[in-house]
């Protein structure tokens, strides 16, 4: 399977739809172990991404991702803005020049995106951040034949697993043990991204 400009557009579009729907839910996840703005931040950012995407024409997928990156960087703010911005920027760079992106290339893109997040956030898996979703997803892409169902399930399980970890990075770290039992808001928004990706794959399966 290969992904073209339209697939990437569709991915972002579906992501935006869910984020707008889940805006209040994401914010509510950020209230007990954060500052209650994650849904507001992501919804504002993705709304703007959609506005920008619709007014441009794109030759290749990397241009779509570059635009997504720049808009998230300049509209989301908080911790998640630079992290998602970095992720999409790195991904965009990794697939630069390709009109159609193979699963192998896309996997490389996800991998460098994850590396970018880790480096920017000075953090690793297990710290109750969005890395805890990106990390198993990237692994899933690397190790086996990706299907929409398995991708969806991997991301979902990873998100839910964050209830079992204690935050050591980001605002939730101040809650220490009290962060246990709560889903990390960034993991939830990342889950929505991969859920949207799974839908794109499903449409092509």
């Amino acid at each position: 399977m290969e992904l073209n400009v339209n697939d990437f557009m569709r991915w972002i579009e579906l992501t935006n739809e869910t984020i707008q729907q889940q805006k209040n839910y994401l914010t509510s996840l950020d209230q007990p172990i954060g500052d209650g703005d994650h849904g507001i931040n992501m919804a504002r950012g993705l709304q703007e991404v959609m506005n920008k995407l619709q007014t441009n024409e794109y030759q290749e997928p990397s241009e779509v991702l570059k635009n997504v990156s720049m808009t998230l960087l300049s509209k989301v703010g908080g911790a998640s803005g630079p992290l998602y911005g970095t992720a999409f920027l790195k991904m965009s760079m990794a697939i630069k020049g390709l009109n159609s992106v193979s699963m192998e290339d896309f996997t490389k893109g996800l991998q460098v995106a994850l590396d970018g997040i880790k480096q920017r956030g000075k953090s690793n898996a297990g710290e109750k951040t969005l890395i805890d979703v990106w990390s198993p997803v990237v692994e899933h892409f690397s190790n086996q034949d990706v299907t929409s169902d398995r991708l969806m399930e991997t991301a979902k399980r990873a998100m839910e697993e964050t209830t079992n970890t204690i935050a050591t990075k980001g605002r939730a770290a101040y809650f220490k043990e009290k962060s246990l039992g709560h889903i990390d808001p960034g993991s939830a928004s990342s889950f929505y991204m991969f859920e949207a990706l799974a839908k794109v794959l499903k449409e092509k399966e």
Binding site: D35, I40, S74, G77, G78, G81, R171
Partner: protein, 329 residues
């Protein structure tokens, strides 16, 4: 939600408009940004100071703009770090050739966004350096986690680094003195009530009618002890003791008693009385005291106490003239 606002998603824009209208002679908005700068920026040959962060902490940060303190402030959405492009705009707007110094509070979002802006500015050939303020002793100090938060002690960094820049200090000198302030300042806060982010519409935590939380952060981050409201004296003891236990303040200090938004000045002065008594008992001399709203959390009721250990250099810079409305000297 009882607020004097229009569209909850436009509060920062509306606030900046109202701020500039109130101060047309001293402030300007960098067009199409949430950056507020000195009217006369860039000041050629002077190191420029940029601070900022989420909005909702007024007078932080735009109230500290003025000769002798900040050159620009970047206003994020409420309680949300501003984005790198905004910080970059601020850096560009104030760079007068001698470099730009960023004052960053130690929150993941602030650090990430400001550092990215610094990278972008450096790529454009602007000399930039920064300091990360982490004065909140309510948080355990650890390099494995996010670390301590930056709260009201940041105001001393603005003032003193600003004075150094105004006096002609180089970017390295400004950075050195800012780091000296960070090394010598400790703070802790407490809250009696939550506050409401306008776009969220509900408080992110609740406190019972008889409860308070010692150590709470300026975005409602958790403190170290939630319990029944005690007297002003006991609150002063709880905050001051923890601060004094964290660092050797023997000698001379500047004191900052900061209201979080809804707490009347009367209560801050009552608190200040006990703080002075405690310091006197410890043989610590108070050089100067600042009481008021310096770094708020919207309409939260509560306060914070900051102590800065001062030597001759810091005293001189603290006393230097300042035209910033929120820290006039």
């Amino acid at each position: 939600m009882k607020k004097i606002i229009n569209d909850p998603n436009q509060v920062v824009q509306d606030m900046i408009d109202g701020l500039i209208m109130a101060n047309p002679a001293t402030l300007k908005q960098v067009p199409e940004t949430f950056v507020v700068a000195r009217e006369d920026a860039p000041v050629q040959g002077k190191v420029a100071l940029v601070s900022g962060g989420g909005s909702g902490h007024e007078p932080a940060h735009a109230g500290y703009i003025g000769k002798g303190v900040l050159d620009a402030a970047v206003c994020g959405e409420v309680f949300t770090s501003p984005t790198p492009d905004q910080v970059l705009e601020a850096i560009r707007a104030v760079d007068g050739g001698a470099g730009v110094f960023l004052v960053i509070k130690n929150y993941t979002g602030d650090v990430l966004n400001f550092e990215m802006a610094q990278e972008l500015a450096e790529a454009e050939g602007i000399k930039v350096s920064h300091v990360i303020v982490n004065d909140d002793v309510a948080v355990e100090d650890s390099s494995f986690t996010t670390g301590r938060r930056g709260i009201a002690g940041t105001v001393f960094v603005h003032k003193i680094a600003g004075a150094k820049a105004e006096a002609g200090g180089s970017l390295e000198e400004v950075q050195a003195v800012a780091e000296k302030v960070v090394a010598n300042v400790r703070s802790m806060g407490m809250a009696l009530t939550p506050c409401i982010v306008p776009a969220a519409g509900t408080p992110s935590f609740e406190l019972e009618e008889d409860e308070m939380e010692i150590g709470m952060g300026i975005h409602g981050e958790p403190g170290i002890n939630r319990g029944s409201i005690t007297s002003a004296d006991e609150i002063a003891i709880a905050l001051t003791d923890k601060i004094l236990a964290d660092y050797d303040f023997s000698g001379e200090v500047a004191v900052l008693v900061n209201g979080l938004g809804a707490t009347p000045a009367m209560e801050l002065y009552i608190l200040n009385k006990k703080i002075h008594q405690i310091l006197e008992e410890q043989g610590i001399n108070v050089y100067k005291t600042f009481v008021g709203e310096y770094m708020t959390s919207l309409e939260m009721a509560g306060c914070s106490v900051s102590l800065l250990k001062v030597d001759d250099e810091l005293k001189e810079l603290l006393d230097a003239a300042s035209e910033a409305p929120a820290f006039r000297i």
